[in-house]
Symmetry: C2
């Protein structure tokens, strides 16, 4: 053990931060995300997101912006950290919601199990920290007023990594039990009709008048917000960067807001209320 | 209209910020949340959460900390804003997830429809801004590694404002279609057995070995994290301040982490990947 400890001191121990920078505007990046990026010498991330934080990453080594494959980018991050570098892997939103946290941890496990130093050695291996951020679902919800508020389901329509049948099953399950539904990745070039199919599934259970919020670039300079209904939602522009929020049976629109009531107004007071939990 | 505009200029226009302060630690409070609180003269919130931000709220008028009824607290906030004050209504986590955003907007709508000035007048009424924060589900997920990653459902076990039958339906729906499930408000004095019932529902569809994360006080000094399984989860302390994350069929635990794979490792590269969305 002494030998291992000595070995681990021969070079400085690296770190890998998996950082969520929130929806995009600087004012929604947490101090912890900012300090982790500031402490990093190497930045790994998709260029679309790095472009949101130019001031934070100038003078850093940026790798992988040209890489389109997540595994390659995350592997590069691990290798830099193993060399003693402090590395930030950047996701927009929260790194645990359809983003990079899982892949980074999977790759660490794989290296440790394959006997790759320093991942095998608890004392020497890089520090790993997942730094949460404001997820797209929270930023979009804020832009729309208060559409979540109650039980909700997040569903990605991307079938690149998930069988489409399972996605359909989840849409049926969530719509039939009156969840508010947040749809990620609603449309891409390869599968433009998925959102149409999803809408048809929703209409089996939800009224066509159910409010729908369509948000693109929440909290960015080019933010666009549309408030519509399930019946009319396909009349609006929807692409891969769009997040869609579909209300439950109690949701209503009012001016520029969608409001899903929680029912507080009719509740008796109680000593400790779950209104104060989240 | 001129008269109304003149009237609106006779006193300064108030503002009401519905602010999410994240899980509790200062390092996870966004700059926008901090600046909104700094700009406020009046702070409204449940004392448990105000105690997390003593430095931000000193020298402010704090109202409603003794109030246990959400409607009274939010009504007080509206009245102060109508008088021209800048008011922050504080929620922990995100204000749109089981928190105060919906109620504030509902009360504004009610006043406007009842003809109460200045809510009737678009030019004079207080500025309203919902300021997102890092929700408990993201903070807990980060503390646990990467348990979300894929489609997930958030379900509150509180039946104070929701029929228990609907909560059960949602548990069945989410578990049967292999969502990761985040449980809010798992237990309170009035209903200690709900979590037991919920667990029994989960076991109809999910393996007893499915990883479960139990998080209390995520990102606070007294944070406690337990990684267990559906079979064993009831052996651990669970209360109203606990958030529970239940994996999907692909989730596994590894050391101090729960990882839900997204499957990126087996995917072909593509130009724009949804790994970079959120």
């Amino acid at each position: 053990m002494v030998t291992e400890n000595n070995a681990s001191h021969q070079k400085s121990r690296g770190a890998i931060y998996v950082v969520g920078i929130g929806p995009g505007a600087a004012e929604h990046i947490t101090p912890r995300a900012t300090s982790a990026i500031a402490a990093s010498t190497v930045i790994v991330g998709y260029s679309t997101y790095l472009e949101l934080i130019p001031a934070l990453i100038k003078d850093k080594t940026v790798i992988g912006t040209g890489m389109t494959q997540e595994v390659k980018r995350c592997s590069a991050a691990l290798e830099e950290a193993a060399r003693g570098q402090v590395v930030s892997v950047i996701s927009s939103g929260d790194p645990g919601v359809y983003a990079m946290a899982g892949l980074v941890l999977e790759l660490i496990k794989e290296r440790a199990e394959a006997g790759v130093y320093p991942w095998t050695n608890a004392a020497a291996r890089p520090v790993v920290e997942i730094i949460p951020g404001v997820p797209a679902l929270a930023a979009c919800s804020a832009a729309l007023g208060a559409p979540l508020m109650h039980d909700f389901a997040a569903i990605s329509l991307s079938d690149r990594l998930t069988p489409w049948e399972l996605i359909e099953r989840r849409l049926h399950a969530a719509a039939s039990s009156d969840f508010v539904i947040v749809i990620y990745n609603p449309k891409s070039k390869g599968r433009p009709s998925h959102i149409n199919t999803a809408r048809d599934i929703l209409l089996n259970y939800k009224s066509g008048e159910t409010p729908v919020g369509i948000v693109k670039g929440a909290a960015r300079v080019d933010e666009t917000i549309t408030i519509t209904t399930i019946s009319a939602m396909l009349n609006y522009e929807i692409d891969m960067q769009t997040t869609i929020v579909i209300g439950n049976s109690q949701s209503f629109s009012y001016g520029s807001w969608i409001i899903t009531p929680r029912g507080y107004r009719f509740a008796a007071p109680e000593k400790t209320s779950q209104a104060d939990k989240d």
